[in-house]
Subunit: 150 residues, 2 copies
């Protein structure tokens, strides 16, 4: 989807004849076209090793939301859960352009994140925020283009 | 993490000396050990093509929650967002054992999901629920073991 277009749609008040209007308008294409290929969005799977501060839902929430904004995304919803006694945190930020998730294993100094963004957002812009907040000794990134059309 | 252990922890009322207790107990290992390898959890990236019912947050919510339970997971939180006018749905189910996310492009009959589960849960058990609800003509699955330790 186109991030800006979708954002515009979110804030739109549905009209009474919304369904009718949609059915007669030409279909809009929210897939991304970039560098000659077309796909739904970019999905990064990010593993942090040797990381700290993985037991703080407040810091994690703040970090992921700041990263999302820097990436050009719009936050719709964020929710985090704190586990005891290991202190692990699980949570998500739902975006107008997809989502960010995190699950942490503080006892392993390990966190597994995924950053999925469509439209004009750049998911790689989240990574400096992760480095700053969690000081990982190693960051492993796996990039997947979702819905890639050959 | 071990799903059942983590589940137990979720429902536990934190004791007043929680931090002290944790610091003196031996560290617990919530990574999975299976078939001679050790990892944090199994992460499936699932693309549905030629799918229907992708504009119904109620059906999507019901389907993902039913799949999560069948997979052996515990639902902590679920949240879905319905976009207008294209009818796309974005949302997540946060689990005690990680999460399920979905983003749909009804105009493309396409949906991108990810199912991340640790512990004894089987994320593949979600897939029959997706087939039943969305009748995709093609399902593409990418399996990633997160936090794999060689």
């Amino acid at each position: 989807m186109n991030a800006l277009a979708r954002l515009g749609m979110v804030s739109e008040t549905p009209s009474e004849n919304q369904t009718t209007t949609v059915s007669v308008e030409p279909a809009k294409d929210y897939f991304v076209e970039r560098d000659g290929i077309k796909y739904a969005g970019m999905h990064l799977l990010i593993d942090l090793w040797g990381a700290t501060n993985l037991d703080s839902p407040e810091l994690i929430d703040k970090t992921l939301c700041a990263g999302a904004i820097e990436a050009g995304a719009t936050i719709l919803h964020h929710h985090f859960h704190h586990f005891t006694p290991n202190g692990g945190v699980s949570g998500v930020v739902v975006l107008a352009e997809s989502h960010i998730s995190i699950h942490t294993w503080p006892e392993r100094s390990f966190a597994a994140l995924d950053v999925f963004m469509c439209g004009v957002c750049d998911p790689y812009k989240v990574i400096p925020f992760l480095r700053e907040a969690f000081k990982p000794t190693h960051v492993q990134i796996n990039e997947q283009k979702r819905g890639l059309i050959a």
